[in-house]
């Protein structure tokens, strides 16, 4: 239960880090290490070189503006979770982070690290996929933004090239008249979920005339259900007040597998139950946000509170 020897590099800047990734073949990036160090200790991974980001203070930021939330590669889960500006701009971040392991793990683990690790059972990759966020990858050749839809390639496999460093994850702000929710079931509090779902609903229509507001968009992202986060568009099946059709659509669309934690049938069942719960909660929130828009238009939008909390 001890890591195999590796060469250790501790860059102080992003530039030094990407240089190190170019110079060293078979290098892994260490941020919080809450997933990587167990893999090293169990010798499931034994990279030749570890590039440690923990001294790159320029990456320890959470920045919120009107468009969304940008999370630097050294921002710990706890830092993102505590950030009030981020939570008000995109409430799903704080809610999802509360389900990521335990507070002690969140003190060290990083949100970008969790996304880059691309564990299909983890919450934050599904959150990024649901919201249509991006990951910024830097190499000595330059920088590119990778859309969430292209980022998750397979279990523990992302679109990052070996010489690329994920420097930032960006999630868009919650659109107006929208609500988000996350539900999961795990054997023990803090464990990986047997199945989890994050959902977002956006309403349209004025809500005052006959028929009221209708669902413009209902989407859900599932974790622990496949090789990557699975995003489903359930808009056509969305019926406020009765989410049975949407749940059935989701149940039919997923292809879960059996393992020691749960059978495929049980996972499929949970997809239905959790889809109903998450859509109902997201819809309730979207309705409230609609009320806010209709009746409280004078309330100032606090989009000017962009702050650097790094």
């Amino acid at each position: 239960m001890k890591p195999a020897p590796f060469e250790y590099v501790r860059p102080r800047t992003v530039q030094e880090a990407v240089d190190a990734l170019t110079e060293h073949a078979d290098a892994k990036v260490l941020a919080g290490g809450q997933s990587l160090i167990p893999l090293l200790s169990m010798r499931l991974a034994s990279p030749a070189t570890l590039v440690d980001l923990n001294r790159i203070e320029e990456l320890a930021y959470v920045r919120t503006d009107h468009a969304g939330v940008r999370i630097g590669a050294l921002a710990r889960h706890a830092q993102v979770q505590r950030d009030d500006a981020a939570a008000s701009r995109q409430p799903l971040l704080r809610r999802a982070l509360a389900l990521v392991a335990h507070p002690t793990i969140r003190n060290r683990g990083t949100t970008v690290g969790s996304i880059a690790h691309a564990d299909p059972a983890a919450e934050m990759p599904a959150v990024l996929a649901l919201l249509g966020g991006t990951v910024t990858a830097r190499s000595t050749g330059g920088e590119r933004d990778i859309a969430a839809a292209d980022f998750f390639v397979g279990p523990l496999e992302s679109a990052l090239r070996p010489d690329e460093l994920a420097t930032e994850a960006w999630v868009p702000a919650l659109p107006s008249r929208s609500g988000v929710a996350i539900r999961e079931l795990s054997r023990r509090h803090g464990d990986y979920a047997l199945v989890g779902v994050a959902a977002m609903i956006t309403l349209q229509g004025d809500g005052l005339t006959a028929g009221g507001a209708t669902v413009a968009s209902a989407r859900a992202a599932y974790f622990s259900i496949g090789d990557t986060p699975v995003v489903l568009d359930l808009t056509d099946a969305a019926e406020p007040g009765d989410w049975t059709a949407a749940a059935e659509r989701a149940t039919a669309a997923v292809e879960p597998e059996s393992d020691i934690h749960a059978s495929a049938d049980y996972r499929r069942h949970l997809v239905g139950v959790l889809t109903r719960q998450a859509l109902a909660a997201a819809h309730d929130e979207a309705k409230l946000s609609g009320t806010h828009r209709l009746w409280a238009q004078h309330v100032p939008d606090n989009s000017e509170d962009a702050g650097d909390h790094g």
Partner: protein
């Protein structure tokens, strides 16, 4: 070829230690083997049990999921650092004694460090909040009831003399 070693300085329970370690040395092993501070226990050694929890710059972290080189220059508090200057028990330790919050004691160092930081952030936890606070620590003896009571008792002991919430 000899494995490269790294000279690092850790401040543990207020004292500075210079140690020479390979990069793969876990913080838990530096504490126990190099510094001979064996109060920090290693249970599962992959981040599940919480027995190895120490405070890093005041926040609880798993020392078995932390490379010592990675925390060079930082401040660490282990269970040995929770006693008072005269060696008297700290409030969380005293509460565990009062409430019979331990049986075999193996998991206790991780609980004590976690709860110390938890009460700093939330000095008046409810019973539910106390459960949430210790959610990342496993105990195979007690069934947790007395540990939860100890969290509340420690909150009581930490109040200023005669103070009520």
């Amino acid at each position: 070829m000899a494995e490269p070693r790294h000279q690092i300085r850790l401040r543990v329970n207020g004292a500075a230690y210079d140690v020479d370690v390979p990069a793969r040395r876990l913080l838990s092993d530096v504490l126990r083997h190099d510094l001979e501070l064996t109060g920090t226990h290693v249970g599962c050694e992959h981040g599940v049990c919480g027995a190895c929890t120490v405070l890093l710059d005041g926040d609880p972290v798993r020392s078995c999921l932390t490379l010592a080189v990675s925390v060079d220059g930082q401040e660490i508090t282990t269970v040995e650092g929770l006693t008072g200057a005269d060696g008297e028990l700290g409030p969380v330790q005293q509460a565990f004694k009062d409430c019979h919050g331990l049986q075999c004691g193996f998991c206790t160092p991780g609980f004590l460090t976690t709860i110390t930081a938890g009460l700093r952030d939330n000095p008046e936890p409810t019973r539910d909040e106390a459960r949430e606070m210790i959610g990342g620590n496993l105990c195979r003896c007690t069934g947790y009831q007395n540990i939860v009571s100890a969290v509340l008792r420690a909150a009581e002991l930490s109040r200023p003399e005669g103070g009520t919430p």
